[in-house]
Symmetry: C2
Subunit: 350 residues, 2 copies
């Protein structure tokens, strides 16, 4: 089954969910956090067969092995067997951690994702990456495992705080930057008001872009690295701020910083014109108000980048933009240029 065949988008696809759930699962579990329990669970509860809720605490700081152990304990206590189903109702944290928990429980039970954030609709629910953070490193422990299906109801977006919605929009911008110049220009020419967007269309467009890339290279040996644009620096920035209580950034905010810095690096490497860099920076600034990266943070970010999963043989490898709407993988970037790119980001902060 290819990616598209198991991704159902739109509020009229509740039927497909009901149909899917008609399969003879021996038991059914719904993974929620306090927010998705409150705002999303009620919208689908009546569609579900007999099930148990597993509730965890929201937030990236809880995406760890300890929370997985809690999920595994609940499944064990409920005598969940190999024919059980786990329904992940939430954003990227629930999807990644629920997927990993399902993939490892008794060597693998089925799971489906019902993403509730923009980020998880356009990014996390497609591609089979599961995992949790470990001693300060993002997604350090995980496996590749596709959900049986993904059901995307954009109506859940109405339950999101504006900051969350904007955060998810970072991945939308990324997709257009690496793969769709026309869409990039369309949002560039629109008012930066997220509420007025046609989300059904946006999600369909983005799932298509991501699926097309992932299908070519599920295990990230080549073209899938396109999706890492903004993420080498972005993940390090996110990990850094995760350690600074009260200053945590949302994933998309960190990726926005990463995209600014890596666009600068693309320009310095001669892959992006100064004018394209400016257009990119302007668009990102229209949506995001981002903190500067001070000297201490810069050093930590550098250390974290050296630990990045995507590096091999101790050279720092980046995916960069090759003009707007195109990308270039496996670019070796020097440490000094990374620091320069953070200075560039700082120069944009007011």
């Amino acid at each position: 089954m290819n990616q598209k065949e198991r991704i159902f988008i739109g509020d009229d696809s509740f039927m497909e969910l009901v149909q899917f759930l008609n399969q003879p699962f021996s038991s059914c579990f719904v993974l929620v956090d306090e927010n998705t329990r409150k705002y999303c669970y009620a919208k689908i509860q009546s569609l579900l067969p007999k099930h148990s809720l597993i509730q965890i605490q929201s937030g990236e700081q809880n995406k760890n092995l300890e929370t997985c152990a809690l999920i595994w304990a609940k499944l064990t206590e409920a005598n969940a067997d190999r024919k059980s189903l786990l329904i992940n109702l939430g954003g990227g944290v629930i999807g990644d951690m629920g997927g990993f928990s399902a993939a490892c429980y008794k060597r693998g039970i089925s799971f489906i994702n019902l993403p509730t954030t923009l980020l998880s609709m356009v990014d996390a629910s497609v591609g089979g990456k599961t995992g949790v953070d470990f001693i300060g490193f993002k997604n350090q422990i995980g496996v590749f495992q596709e959900p049986e299906a993904v059901f995307i109801y954009t109506t859940f977006l109405k339950t999101l705080p504006k900051r969350e919605l904007t955060s998810g929009f970072a991945e939308v911008i990324k997709h257009y930057l690496i793969a769709d110049k026309k869409e990039f220009e369309e949002i560039q020419n629109s008012e930066p008001v997220l509420e007025s967007l046609n989300w059904q269309r946006v999600v369909e467009k983005n799932v298509k872009i991501k699926s097309a890339i992932v299908e070519q290279d599920p295990h990230e040996n080549g073209v899938r690295k396109a999706l890492n644009f903004g993420h080498t620096i972005g993940h390090a920035v996110e990990s850094h701020f995760l350690k600074r209580e009260g200053h945590e950034l949302l994933h998309g905010e960190a990726i926005a910083i990463g995209m600014l810095a890596e666009s600068y690096i693309s320009m310095k490497k001669g892959l992006l014109s100064e004018e394209e860099l400016k257009r990119t920076a302007t668009l990102i600034q229209n949506y995001f108000v981002l903190p500067p990266i001070d000297i201490e943070a810069q050093n930590d970010v550098l250390t974290l980048i050296k630990q990045d999963k995507k590096n091999t043989n101790n050279s720092l490898q980046f995916t960069l933009l090759q003009g707007i709407g195109n990308y270039s993988i496996n670019n070796i970037v020097e440490e000094g240029l990374i620091i320069d790119s953070l200075h560039y980001h700082n120069s944009l902060c007011k």
Copy 2:
């Protein structure tokens, strides 16, 4: 690549190991416990490229997520990237836990197994099952992931205490019981002296039996269940004794009890003749001195069986013998008969 192509048996296959290690891994780690470090590591050290040792404590009681976290922390500290290799030098605990750790580190790095016990040579190194125990349940958390290769040096068997060697022999008996009547009769007619066996031949035979089954059904949906003979009760017995400090059983000892009990059940279900049951029991008793299962233990074993990964829809499903050298899967067994089978085992204990 099929199972056999990546399994190298015999002390003359050091060449193949050296050749394998010639691949451009970015870094190399050897997972050992205090025993394999002392008795086995020296035998292969000179063949290995530059590497780091990761030492863990031996024993089933350390096959858990906490030890995985220790392995993951060591890999992280050493900046291990996705092109790293983990060499599992040890028995089933090292192989299962090392395999799981490798499969989940940065969503998967390569690993190879160098089994050092009879059990891991004939059983654990073939079949792609990885995992750790969790809140009292054997291999509750894990994934299916094949090692890149398995190198079996029977010379390591000389480093084993006799009790360990005998324990491993339980899986040999199991393979013959389910799949090779001729070999069963051959050991039945030999003196029960393990030291005099031709291990190269025994290992080759057993790897062949197991590989043939696993290749037909890697994810245990059908025929692979043949290998579970003796393990439904055996695993529960093992889990139970694991909780009784000072009375722990080795895996093969628990499986020996499981095989006795499940042979009795096979007889009661009309699948095995009384004479065949007697021959099976005599052979097992020739090698093993086993403890009885008291009433408290019987109840715990029953509870644990109900939690078995292999059960679905709340019926207790067993793989039984259908004559010696053949098996029957998916037999539903009543709780009372399980208790009876433990009484039968007790009647054999002196």
